[in-house]
Amino acid sequence: MKAFEKPLFTMEIGSLAKPAWRVKAHLGEPVDAADLAEARLWGERLGIGGYGALLEALRAPDSPGRRRAALEWSAIYALRLLESAGLDFVFDGEQWRREMYEHAISAIGGFAFLGEVRSFDNKYYRKAACIDRPWRAGPIYLEEFLFAKSMARRPLKVPVTGAYTLADWSFDEYYRRAWMARARGPRAIREGAKRDMVLDLAREVLRPELRDLAGAGAEWIQIDEPAATTHPSEWEMELFVEAFNESASGLPCRVSLHNCYSDYSLLARYAPELRGCWQISLEFANRDSRRPGTSDADRPGYRALRAFEEAGYGGSYGLGVLDVHTDFVEPPELVRDRILYALGVVGWDPGRIQPCPDCGLRTRTWEVALAKLGALVEGARLAREAIGCEGGL
């Protein structure tokens, strides 16, 4: 595909903020004048034809049709936002998903949500327990992908939550019970149970899902594994690698890994074992200075790349060049310098660097997200210009 041949092509990672009209309409609540004004404003700004039909749907009382319209229109808006920023690969800003864990677990049999637990301070998340052997109750992302594909004007990359993270963020009752009868000692029970749970999710749920996505025309699937380095022991890291390989190896499409805010020196040691993983996208901007320049001292956030190179990882990097936790809009020259530094690490091979945000932009307003993504696209262009390949290969 031509888009893959463009040096330093750009992409998004996953989520965008959900507009208030999307949230309210999907919950079956009425919208107010400000919500309608927002839908109108972005409809005009993104050149979305026929957005009047959205306004009409939003003004109507709650119905299955109105809820569906909220999902479809928010996906269209997000696609157009990412396309208008100039990204080479886009998706729907995960507008169909409540959240990356809950969305997937809700579609998998064998889990029960038990309640909310704290992430930090006054932030909580709903946590489920595995109470039976998991099964794929139905497609998790397929319908969302098919809709996005029907609407997109640029190539798509589909983000999915990986098996290791789904298991690590859940309680385990089913496998613990089984292992209590088979092993002695709390650690042997816990480790045996976790291994079975992770690999069952990889083989019975993720793999068929990814196969269906590829069969439906997905050319690129990104497996999100934010939990990858949570447990730094060797057997946990090997389990994470095995889960990736069981989920994805041999698929007839590109498969990549996304991880962020983690221990990269640990991840780097295992990166070469991820079979068929053509790209690893990582958060770097969050760790970096805002000073322009391409020296080691200017780019402390990107030194972690060297650990992957030294470990023998030969794939591409999704290079996080936008800090998603600040409204600071990175100047294109800073983006360019981050890219040029990374290119220096990988022997100036522009096929191995794909600039992107550190992570999903869901905590930023659309206004800020669009400005940051515009800077990303312009920074990539400046980098191409600097190395003399602005017109493509």
Partner: protein, 326 residues
């Protein structure tokens, strides 16, 4: 004495979760939030009293994390960026040491739900161990881990004395670092024990029973070291340890034991019989001065309904072993 108790921050109940969320979104007043904290702590205290538990905790529902009250309340510290709390999907603010540590012993005032604890009840408080506190902080001032740990120990000691004056009769020092990950070098273990001793020595004379609760790792190889601490009870995370009676016999006869048998990080609720059997298996012929059955760690990783059921099971197991007065 055979008993059960809580070992750290309890999960907030559904109503309190809703109240904190509403407060953050400007939809609830400060008074409404205060009332929700008091109500939730009151429910947890009533549960413990109803189960016959002697040393009652207020659940530490206001604590954002084990170190935050001190990061906010002591001189020389700031609450820094979010960092992962061990291998959990839970985060804390890493304290940053920016100057000489100072405490007037009042850091916990705003965090304790005294009104939820009836007078005359034995109150249990939990403090971080000075070693763990130092390990989990970023030092920009002392430049020497031992000096930092001793400064923290001094400040914790003042907090412990204030707690005793407030009517607390059981002080637990929580130690999640010492047994976590690869074994620590001998000189580091010695440094940790020295700081813990400095924080705890003599608290008994002031009227409090004390505990060092070691969790998130296997404490059994450390038991000979812990035997000499000026501490009444030694706590062991039984989900990480598989101690045999031989290793427990390393503890002197006048030491009590806290066995963290109920897994504070998984929702499968252990049965009372299963808990009692685990305790009996671990103890063998060892008869500690006091035995407390408890969760393996703070239970904030669980929804409250699950945590409450685990506490009930622990109390029933203690009763089955001949302890607890209803």
């Amino acid at each position: 004495m055979i008993d059960a108790y809580l070992t750290g921050i309890s999960p907030r109940g559904d109503a309190l979760i809703r109240a904190t969320r509403a407060f953050d979104r400007g939809r609830a007043s400060g008074e409404e939030l205060e009332a929700a904290f008091l109500e939730d702590a009151g429910a947890l205290v009533r549960l413990q009293l109803g189960l016959g538990i002697r040393y009652v905790s207020d659940g530490m529902l206001r604590w954002q994390d084990l170190l935050r009250p001190f990061a906010l309340g002591w001189r020389g510290l700031e609450a820094g960026p979010l960092a992962r709390w061990f291998d959990n999907n839970t985060f804390y603010r890493r304290p940053i040491i920016v100057g000489e540590i100072g405490s007037d012993g009042g850091a916990l005032g705003p965090f304790i739900e005294l009104a939820a604890m009836p007078p005359g009840v034995d109150r249990k408080a939990v403090l971080p161990s000075p070693y763990a506190f130092a390990k989990l902080s970023e030092d920009r001032f002392y430049g020497d881990p031992a000096e930092l740990a001793m400064a923290i120990a001094g400040a914790l000691r003042r907090e412990a004395e204030s707690l005793i004056r407030m009517g607390f009769s059981y002080i637990q020092f929580s130690e999640p670092c010492l047994a976590y990950g690869p074994p620590k070098p001998r000189d580091e273990v010695a440094m940790a024990l020295e700081a813990i001793s400095a924080a705890a020595r003599g608290l008994g004379a002031l009227g409090a029973r004390t505990c060092l609760y070691v969790y998130f790792g296997d404490a059994s190889p450390l038991l000979p070291d812990l035997a000499g601490l000026p501490i009444d009870d030694i706590g062991i995370d039984m989900t990480e340890s598989d101690p045999d009676p031989d290793s427990l016999s390393a503890l002197p006869a006048d030491k009590g034991l806290a066995l963290g048998i109920a897994d504070g990080r998984n929702s499968l609720v252990e049965g009372p019989r299963e808990i009692a059997a685990s305790a009996e298996r671990a103890l063998g012929a060892v008869e500690p001065d006091a035995l407390f059955l408890c969760p393996s760690c703070e239970m904030e990783y669980l929804p409250r309904s699950v945590a409450d059921r685990k506490l009930e099971a622990l109390a029933m197991a203690a009763r089955a072993l001949g302890g607890l007065e209803p």
